[in-house]
């Protein structure tokens, strides 16, 4: 039993060989290498569709930047990692991008909880991050950080943009179908605050786990509460499943459904009869008289199988473009200088692609983007993808609560 046997040697060699085989072979060249941008998004799971579109938008921005000579004369490289819609995986991937790949800038995530968790990692490492698609308030509110900016709306902005419309149209008694995590909780409380000032009441709220496929029990409960309107706050695949089942059960014939944030990804995944309700879009591809918009739509159509860009494409695109704009202004890719440069930075027309002034508010690092309030429709009149009728476009600075009300106090490093 003593001494190294042939078997032992074999098994040790096999083990060593296996570790080598499965290890990534990365050539680690530094110096005048490309500027690396890390992007963590849930490419699998309930938010796969919006996440993929964010990545596509970011890739378009990178291609455009590289065609014009990159950022500060260096080419840009986008490294995408799948957070699998799981917070722990997202954190692990963010650490991997920072520690192994030495990214200079981080984008992510669609899922609010993951976005917040990644923000903790980037803050620990002192790296600039733009939250591309997580809406929960604390990211640019009570939990705001010097290195974290956000492109998409806060839940308060979403609620403020659409609540009065819904109240006038449907009445005072609302029932919620809310996803049970950070985003859903803050969105519901933001709407409740709006509803209270308008004089309405809440008949109840169904908290549904992320990734629910069967909403029947929640919908039956919501119907029996007899509200004026059922407010859907679920997103992504959950929104699709929920709306489909509402139409199947014929609930929409008795009680109208509506909500705040709606996305083109969801409407397109629905059968025409389920494209119903009043909502807000965070960005829309079909706007009259907006410069550079047609070019953006055409570019995305080329890489998106002929389909138009969604708000998510624009988020990914704008996240990368903001980094380039800040780098040009700061003449550096040092995170601290970039973060200072982004403060109160206004997006130029070729990036903002919408009316109104769009800028990163210095006080809480929130982008003041427009809200597109309107109604879903079964078929597009001219284009089959024109599934949303925009009634009004509200400037972000009109719906965002003042910085003092967000609870954000930024602590800059000395």
């Amino acid at each position: 039993m003593n001494g190294i046997g042939r078997r032992t040697l074999l098994q040790a060699t096999a083990a060593a060989g296996l570790v080598r085989l499965t290890s990534p072979f990365i050539i680690s060249a530094r110096g005048d290498s490309p500027v690396r941008i890390g992007m963590v998004d849930p490419l699998t799971g309930a938010y796969a569709a919006p996440a993929r579109n964010e990545v596509m938008g970011a890739q378009l921005a990178v291609a455009r930047l590289n065609a014009k000579g990159g950022v500060l004369g260096r080419q840009v490289e986008l490294l995408v990692e799948d957070s699998a819609n799981d917070v722990g995986t997202g954190v692990q991937k963010a650490r991997k991008l920072i520690e192994r790949d030495n990214v200079s800038f981080m984008i992510g995530d669609v899922n609010s909880a993951i976005a917040q968790a990644i923000a903790q990692v980037t803050n620990e490492k002192g790296l600039l991050q733009i939250v591309s698609g997580g809406h929960t308030d604390p990211i640019t509110g009570t939990d705001c950080k010097w290195n974290v900016y956000r492109v998409c709306n806060t839940t308060r902005m979403e609620a403020n943009s659409v609540c009065d419309v819904l109240f006038k149209k449907y009445g005072p008694k609302w029932h919620f179908i809310t996803p049970d995590y950070a985003f859903g909780h803050t969105l519901q409380s933001a709407i409740e605050a709006n509803l209270k000032t308008l004089g309405g009441t809440v008949t109840g709220a169904e908290l549904t786990p992320l990734g629910t496929s069967d909403f029947s029990a929640y919908l039956i409960k919501a119907r029996s509460a007899n509200p004026n309107v059922i407010i859907l706050l679920v997103q992504g695949q959950d929104m699709v499943n929920c709306l489909k089942q509402i139409v199947q059960f014929g609930i929409n014939k008795q009680i109208p459904v509506a909500g705040t944030q709606q996305e083109l990804e969801s409407l397109e995944a629905l059968p025409p009869e389920a494209r119903i309700g009043n909502w807000m879009f965070e960005w829309y591809w079909n706007q009259p008289d907006v410069p550079h918009l047609a070019e953006f739509v055409a570019d995305i159509r080329k890489v998106n199988g002929g389909k138009v860009p969604t708000a998510r494409h624009w988020f990914g695109f704008t996240s990368v473009m903001s980094f380039a704009l800040a780098a040009a202004q700061a003449n550096s890719i040092d995170s601290l200088k970039l973060a200072h440069a982004l403060s109160d930075l206004e997006l130029p027309p070729e990036v903002k692609l919408q009316p109104n002034k769009v800028f990163y508010r210095g006080g809480d690092h929130q982008l003041m983007l427009s809200a597109f309030v309107g109604e879903a429709r079964a078929h597009g009149p001219q284009d089959p993808e024109d599934l949303f009728k925009v009634d009004r476009v509200v400037a972000g600075s009109d719906i965002a609560p003042p910085v003092a009300d967000t609870g954000c106090t930024l602590h800059w490093p000395a």
Binding site: N2, L18, R20, T22, S23, Q92, A113, Q116, Q120, E124
Partner: protein
């Protein structure tokens, strides 16, 4: 079959040398230090599970519960009790260990599939507690807002927070302590009794061995070790979330143990290394990385039923 999975000295030296030098050879093959730390932590977790699975012969499918409790214990201690890393580890270990020992007393009266089912059930209880208790655990968003603290050791001040290298060696030190304790236990007469139970429970009972008591002690010890690993995991990510308690993680740990070789003391560490590295590497290339893990698992079970490390030893002893 070597009793208690005793590993020969040169092999042992090689394993420890590789672990000690890991931060230096990992970057050469495209790894990074934090990946090594992750392998150590999950390896320790899989070895703790294997203490029960491979050396006592009972399969727990809910061990993630104790792992997650260790993680939450460490996180809550850092967040609410005191900014001390050793205290956090102690608190996490005790939270998982004590609860595991208490509930283990109920579980050990079942065997086989019933044992596995009951462990899943208890595991899911803790998962849903963590998932629903928003005010304390942060619910689905996970527990944030804590960070591992530098360790003051007499005149030395070890900054495990900002230095990934220092943290790796800190984890390796903890790993060595736990693994050493595990090996000593398995070498003791107690360890021999566990093997006897594994090989033939009825015969062990006829020999007058109090089987339930021994299985319970093994279960409690296994919980203690795995919650220690869970505490280290929380320190690694500065974060804990309900998926640390979910039965799918229990399944991953079983896969690591079986893939590496559950009759071998070091097998689960190899299994964890393969699992973690493969996940890290393949998930950057494709979103379908789980298929590759599944495929590898199927291949291992089909062609190396004793696991990657178990194959050679199993043949020589058979």
């Amino acid at each position: 079959m070597s009793a208690g999975g005793r590993t020969r000295l040169p092999v042992l030296l090689a394993i420890w040398a590789a672990l000690l030098a890991a931060p230096f050879w990992l970057p050469l093959i495209g790894g990074y230090t934090a990946l090594g730390t992750r392998v150590l932590v999950l390896g320790l977790a899989a070895m703790s599970l294997n203490f029960l699975l491979g050396f006592t012969g009972v399969l727990s499918f809910g061990h993630a519960a104790w792992f997650g409790l260790g993680a939450y214990g460490a996180g809550l201690s850092l967040k609410f009790l005191a900014a001390s890393t050793p205290l956090a580890l102690l608190f996490g270990t005790l939270l998982g260990g004590v609860l595991g020992a208490a509930l283990g007393a109920l579980i050990v009266h079942r065997r086989g599939i019933y044992f596995a089912m009951v462990t899943i059930a208890f595991g899911q209880v803790f998962y849903y507690i963590a998932y629903r208790w928003n005010s304390l655990t942060g619910g689905d968003d996970g527990l944030r807002g804590f960070a591992r603290q530098p360790i003051a050791l007499g005149p030395w001040h070890i900054d495990i927070l900002n230095s990934g290298l220092a943290f790796y060696y800190f984890v390796l030190f903890c790993f060595a302590l736990a693994v050493g304790a595990m090996a000593l236990l398995l070498r003791s007469p107690f360890g021999g009794t566990l093997l006897a139970i594994r090989e033939n429970e009825r015969r062990a009972r006829f020999l007058g061995i109090p089987v339930e008591l021994h299985v319970w002690i093994a279960f409690a010890l296994s919980c203690l070790f795995i919650s220690f690993a869970g505490g280290l995991y929380a320190l690694l990510n500065n974060f804990a979330d309900p998926n640390n308690l979910h039965y799918s993680l229990s399944g991953d740990l079983v896969i690591m143990a079986v893939m590496g070789g559950m009759r071998n003391f070091w097998g689960p560490l190899l299994g964890a290394a393969v699992f973690v590295v493969l996940q890290d590497y393949v998930s950057s290339l494709t979103t379908n990385w789980m298929s590759f893990i599944g495929l590898l698992f199927v291949l291992v079970v089909l062609f190396f039923p004793r696991g990657l490390l178990g194959v050679a030893r199993g043949k020589s002893a058979a």
